[in-house]
């Protein structure tokens, strides 16, 4: 039996993560823009930045300056308790609330709020998850109540548990069948919370910062923000600097955190790639008639793994090649920090569309969670609207914003790579890495402008 009418879709507008929303436009306006000119301009900009930054000392980011200091204390644990209570309410909503993911607050708060809006906000304000996570408060309380203040040695694993967490999460988001299904999400989130809770109770709440993947993701992404909160000698320090300046003050990345950054980059890239006509063609899917996630779980699992392997090979390969060319060693620990800027910027650009689409459902559901005509946010009831997706001026503006973000963070990354490297290294040592970043700029923009069919 032939398929017919129902496949007549013009408007492949996916709304949730992994369903490739970033560039899944209905008949795509972005495709009618002079994309090749944009790509060439972007490549040239990043290449020129690399050349100039290599030679010009003035192209350096100034160090951030401290705005305020205060004694470190247990501080804002109440936020974490509040978060925990909200988390419980959301879990309940996932189990017993509306089955429609676009009316279920668990789905919306997690995917549109925590995974998209909060990181975007953290790009401006600095890390918000450290205060808002639902573990810290309850863990402290249980440790106080039980009197157990010891450790079991989890900290010796460094960031590897977070790497495992991010790997599992990426698969859940990009490959699993129904990550937005309220019940499935509630089960996954509940199980994950419990595992981390037990681990943190045994090891201490400070372990969360390195061992839990959302903590680490936010900490890394927020390094791009102008504001940064750190702890120095028993004092909390709030500092202000140019975007990226706080990356300069970060300690070199351990092997595990390097892998974490690679995974972050690879997952973002593959999330974009798996929706493109290019990838669908590669795996034998008709991009105009995507069969559905169930048909591509195996191949997309391999794709995600391959994407990680390729990202690692390219970055470590570029460092090795630089060593071969110049005879000088670029240490991966500090140099890999420059990729934080790219990861943060790409997260913002990639999920911007999701914020604008699923974000509307989130507002609607927050305003009127029980669908009873409430207006908790003071908003008049409104229809969710996707009209902007077919508005040329709006879509061009969004594309230009994404373009600026991608080019900006890549230019920043090449500057940071030069500035972070301890001692002076010849331009030759940096050349492969700079070329790689030019390539990654083009790839990122190509992803955002490619036709998608998922």
């Amino acid at each position: 039996m032939q398929r017919s009418g129902g496949t007549l879709l013009t408007a492949a507008l996916a709304i949730l993560p992994g369903l490739a929303l970033a560039c899944a436009l209905p008949p795509s306006i972005v495709m009618t823009l002079p994309i090749s000119h944009y790509l060439a301009g972007a490549a040239l900009t990043v290449a020129l930045t690399a050349l100039m930054a290599g030679g010009a000392a003035w192209l350096r980011l100034p160090a951030p300056m401290a705005l305020a200091r205060w004694p470190a204390g247990s501080g804002a644990d109440w936020l974490s308790y509040l978060s925990f209570l909200i988390f419980l309410a959301l879990l309940l909503t996932g189990y017993a609330g509306p089955r429609d993911p676009m009316h279920n607050l668990l789905t919306l708060v997690f995917w549109a709020g925590i995974w998209v809006a909060l990181p975007l906000l953290s790009l401006l304000t600095g890390d918000l998850w450290g205060a808002l996570n639902p573990w810290r408060g309850p863990v402290r309380m249980l440790r106080l109540l039980t009197g157990w203040q010891g450790r079991i040695g989890l900290s010796r694993l460094g960031a590897w548990p977070a790497v495992a967490g991010l790997a599992g999460f990426s698969w859940f988001q990009i490959v699993s069948l129904a990550p937005e299904d309220p019940l499935i999400l509630a089960q996954a989130a509940g199980a994950y919370w419990l595992v981390i809770f037990v681990a943190a109770c045994l090891e201490g709440e400070d372990w969360l910062r390195e061992g839990e993947f959302l903590h680490l993701t936010f900490a890394m992404i927020a390094r791009l923000a102008p504001l940064h909160l750190s702890t120095e000698g028993g004092q909390r320090v709030l500092s202000l600097g140019w975007p990226g300046a706080h990356i300069l003050t970060a300690p070199p990345l351990s092997r595990a955190t390097q892998v974490f950054v690679l995974l972050l980059l690879a997952a973002l890239s593959f999330d974009g790639l798996q929706a493109t006509f290019f990838w669908l063609g590669l795996i034998g899917e008709n991009p105009l008639e995507f069969t559905g996630r169930s048909a591509v779980q195996g191949v997309n699992t391999l794709g995600l793994i391959g994407s990680f392997a390729l990202t690692a090979a390219l970055i470590y390969g570029a460092l090795a090649l630089g060593r071969c060319l110049s005879g000088e060693v670029l240490p991966a620990g500090p140099v890999m920090l420059s990729f934080l800027a790219i990861a943060a910027g790409y997260h913002g650009a990639h999920y911007l569309m999701m914020l604008l689409t699923a974000g509307q459902y989130l507002l609607l559901a927050l305003n009127d969670p029980l669908l009873q005509g409430d207006a908790f946010l003071g908003l008049e009831p409104f229809w969710v609207s996707m009209g902007f997706l077919t508005d040329r001026s709006v879509m061009t503006a969004i594309w230009n914003l994404q373009f600026a973000l991608i080019v900006g963070v890549h230019a920043l990354a090449v500057m940071l790579a030069l500035q972070i490297t301890p001692g002076r290294r010849s331009g030759l040592a940096h050349l492969p890495l700079s070329v790689l970043m030019v390539g990654y700029t083009i790839f990122g923009l190509w992803l955002l402008s490619s036709p998608t069919g998922v």
Partner: protein, 424 residues
């Protein structure tokens, strides 16, 4: 606008999130059982069908509000449980199972995408639950599904292609070139429309099959024969704007052939979008006229207002947010058929599911009415497929103005199945 928004507030209020029990107004109390009738809606909320899913849900909510305001079904209130299938056949099958066995819905309706329908309908057959699709696929009438699957809300693609051929050959030209995506959907159009054109004494002079992954079309246009009088196109997907733009560039200031398309190409897209100027003066098939026509009935106007759609087919809250108007009426009309079927069957509960199917099979059609705002329908109980009038519209000043309404009989074709002879 504020009225419609308030209207949404009240209708959502009646919906009770998550299937929580509805408060029962007094008008429902006289029924033998005051428990709500539970209808499962298989919704393409995420995945490739999400844009359609959004409007299908909106239409379903509006139709449900109207139904309950009028006293529900057999004196009982009605609720709809929406379950996302991710536009995925495997999930679709699971959704059917969930709605049937866990939520204990009386029936299931709403899916659109053919591959999802084809993947889900067998489970509905196994579970013996009525499965009413809003898909316009030929899969129901072809006999590929089962006794429990029906399509009483929208005509199928074979009927649509067949019915427009007389107008095309008599008014636009007899020498036709088809431009279609090279896979099953495009092939349906190629086969059914070619046959219909030949039957009308026309001739297909060119067939330009375009690979589905193609995003630039200029190199295909030289394959349009010079003698072509009409181009029939059914391109879909994100590259449609590019297709139109490049076709316009190809003809430039030269005289172009007449052009006939299916609105599916530009469903949910404003025809005033920059780049679509080339479509001015071309013709489209529409399942339901997007722009309010001069002769629109009161029922049509009431339907539009209930769903919250303005005279241009866009959301009343955002003039850029064009609906999937050509298809979504099927949800409204399917719910009307559900009510009529349940009333005719004296439906009391899941034990009466078979009676419901038999009651619908016995129906022969419906007049244009508040229940059927798209127009008169003929229902073929043997093939479980409805037949409808189709609109052929011309783009004039960025609006689709209907220039012809096909007769229902224009869309008939020989029955391919008689489901009534199959066992339940």
């Amino acid at each position: 606008m504020s009225q419609s928004v308030i209207h949404r507030r009240s209708l959502l209020a009646g919906l009770a999130a998550g299937g929580a029990a509805l408060a029962l107004p007094a008008r429902f109390a006289s029924a033998q059982s005051a428990a709500p009738i539970k209808l499962g809606f298989q919704l393409h909320r995420t995945g490739i069908g999400a844009a359609y899913g959004r409007w299908y849900e909106r239409t379903a909510q509006a139709a449900l509000k109207r139904l309950n305001d009028a006293g529900g079904i057999n004196g009982r209130p009605v609720e709809i449980l929406f379950e996302d299938d991710g536009t995925d056949p495997k999930r679709g099958s699971e959704v059917v199972e969930k709605l049937a066995t866990q939520a204990k819905c009386d029936l299931i309706f709403g899916p659109l995408f053919s591959h999802v329908v084809i993947g889900s309908a067998p489970r509905a057959g196994e579970l013996k639950i009525p499965y009413l699709v809003c898909s316009e696929g030929f899969h129901v009438a072809s006999g590929a599904l089962n006794r429990w699957a029906m399509q009483p809300g929208i005509s199928d693609v074979r009927a649509q292609c067949t019915s427009v051929a007389p107008f095309v050959t008599q008014n636009l030209g007899k020498k036709v070139t088809l431009i279609f995506p090279d896979y099953a959907f495009g092939h349906d159009h190629r086969d059914y429309f070619s046959a219909a054109v030949k039957a009308q004494g026309g001739e297909v002079v060119g067939m330009v099959a375009i690979p589905p992954s193609e995003t630039s079309f200029t190199r295909y246009f030289p394959r349009i024969p010079r003698e072509t009088e009409v181009i029939y196109h059914v391109m879909i997907g994100p590259a449609v704007l590019t297709f139109v733009k490049e076709l316009g560039q190809f003809y430039g200031k030269r005289a172009r052939p007449e052009i006939f398309g299916f609105i599916d190409s530009l469903e949910a897209v404003d025809l005033n979008s920059p780049g679509l100027e080339f479509l001015e003066g071309t013709h489209f098939w529409e399942g339901h006229c997007r722009n309010l026509q001069a002769d629109a009935t009161e029922h049509e106007k009431a339907y539009r207002a209930a769903v919250g759609v303005d005279d241009n087919g866009a959301s009343v809250s955002d003039a850029r947010d064009v609906s999937t108007y050509g298809h979504m009426f099927s949800v409204w009309e399917t719910l009307s058929v559900i009510r009529q079927g349940m009333e005719a069957a004296g439906y009391q509960g899941v034990a009466d599911r078979q009676k419901f199917v038999e009651a619908v099979e016995a129906m022969t059609g419906w007049e244009e009415s508040a229940d059927h705002p798209q127009g008169r329908k003929v229902f073929n109980g043997r093939t479980h497929q409805v037949f409808a009038e189709q609109a052929i519209s011309r783009v004039e000043g960025g609006k689709l103005i209907r220039v012809h309404k096909t007769a229902i009989e224009d869309s008939f074709y020989p029955d391919a199945v008689d489901y009534t002879t199959q066992s339940f």
